[in-house]
Symmetry: C2
Subunit: 342 residues, 2 copies
Amino acid sequence: MSDAADAISRALVLRRRPNGLPGPHDFEWRETPLPAPGPGEVLTRTLFLSIDPYMRGRLSDRPSYAPSVGIGEVMTGECVGRVIASADPGFAPGDVVLGTRGWQTHALAKAKNLVKLPPSGPGVAPYSAYLGVLGMPGTTAYSGMKDIGRPQAGETVVISAAAGAVGSVAGQLAKRAGARVVGIAGGSAKCLYVQEELGFDACIDHRADDLDAALAETCPKGVDVYFENVGGAVQRAVFAALAPFARVVMCGMVAQYNDASFADGPNLGFVVGKRVTIQGMIVSDKPERFAEWRSLASPWVADGSLAWREDMHDGLESAPAALAAVLRGGNFGKCVVRVARE
Amino acid sequence: MSDAADAISRALVLRRRPNGLPGPHDFEWRETPLPAPGPGEVLTRTLFLSIDPYMRGRLSDRPSYAPSVGIGEVMTGECVGRVIASADPGFAPGDVVLGTRGWQTHALAKAKNLVKLPPSGPGVAPYSAYLGVLGMPGTTAYSGMKDIGRPQAGETVVISAAAGAVGSVAGQLAKRAGARVVGIAGGSAKCLYVQEELGFDACIDHRADDLDAALAETCPKGVDVYFENVGGAVQRAVFAALAPFARVVMCGMVAQYNDASFADGPNLGFVVGKRVTIQGMIVSDKPERFAEWRSLASPWVADGSLAWREDMHDGLESAPAALAAVLRGGNFGKCVVRVARE
């Protein structure tokens, strides 16, 4: 059922737990014959693999909300793939689907976990967008703002990692809600992008600016909503600038994902006096948000009113370096690996 | 309109901002002739003055949710008083009222801020209880649990300062909700009281026990709700023991109220992975909770099903030392100063 070029699946498996930033030597190749799908299963050729900060947690054996990837196991990750064999009536060879997983050229998946994507063409989002602006990162921003941040017209919203896949959407949603939106990003190119392309009202360069002074200047009435992707010094500065009744969406703290032990955080006395709410989230807790967001945002992607940007890497072999780049802020846009041509 | 013994009002005014723990020398006496109430006003003789941890904040010039008491101003505090003169049709001499303020023998108050208390007698709470179990501390516990903690049957709830005016009520409310309740208190006498009189399932002595080990033993499934009154090492230990989707009611951090600068807090990475909510509260944000709580809890006080305890001090001159005791955990029960005999 699969074509001749697809007799073998190649995968990157975890060779050892990384010490600090992960790199190519932490993974190794494994080749296996292509499996045949059993009833209710679908075999896909991977087109695009998403690279996301959360992956660092899966490489560690530190306790987490999700199990680690074991040594010798295929590294996990969300994919878009093309069906090459199907044993489920809902899918046929040629269909493009979201929901397969793994750093591998082919994936066997249960049909019930897959979403069939609309054919590409004018006025339709490209397939890779379902890994970013329309996918898990976009849904994370949507759920975080809808369920926790709830920005109101006239409020001040601060977004860290503002040029990233989650932050860029979170900030644009806050703008649509009528809030004043200030981004924090690393470097002048990203800050320019955040202001010019994403339409934020201001953007602070955490590599160049005095954070406290820049927050005081750009958020004179204090910060009503903080969408936290970073942690560390940025967290400390924004927490100090929070307004009474502020909401903090705790989405991630990528600045410390490579640390062997975690530094202390800010003193939380202010939480009482300012009646702040600090709330953690994992996007998969509200799975209904994925379809909601695809349906809400697809027209905005089609008409160009929701800006997004990709940092595309070619070839599965580029995945480890791409992940390292994401973890040190070296990407510019949603990091995606093109595993095969469509 | 006032009787002969009440020609002069004596008040404790702030003499200087305390350095660390406040004491008698931070206050001084001021005597003034009794004022006559204007229209809509009521003059009371203070019967009981409440001493509460939040008062430390009013003695400092650190920015806060409420203004500081100025040097030379009467120290603030909630009181129960007996009306000795009234220029409002709703109140008459002899009435006992809640809602006057100040470390002073007499207070002039606007009638609209006062609540008339039921006459004392069998089956009725004593007047002083309206400063504790039925008053601001009780309402704080009620609002914190109702609006933030929301303990469910079978959940594990931890209460710091468990023998205190707020913690004792918070824990009993969690027991009524069917939760397993573990207190944290200082010293074996308080721990015994928390278990035997308040009916908590366990109580950890933060002066004697290894906090991490004791939490692991008493909360084997993790902590679903933490009612935070203390901060410091206790906060750090309980945060490390939180269960997924835990709620933290940030009511106070009394362990640091006398500190000139605040120590760092725990790293907040766990908030994301465990989807924890940490939320600050000030009881006055929901003023409707006061009357709700009085109406809900008065029968429980009358029938003895809600346990409470007072630490009564005699004479307004004892107020500074009583406050110092509260701030170092030296009180045992709700701290009240009896300013005049009923």
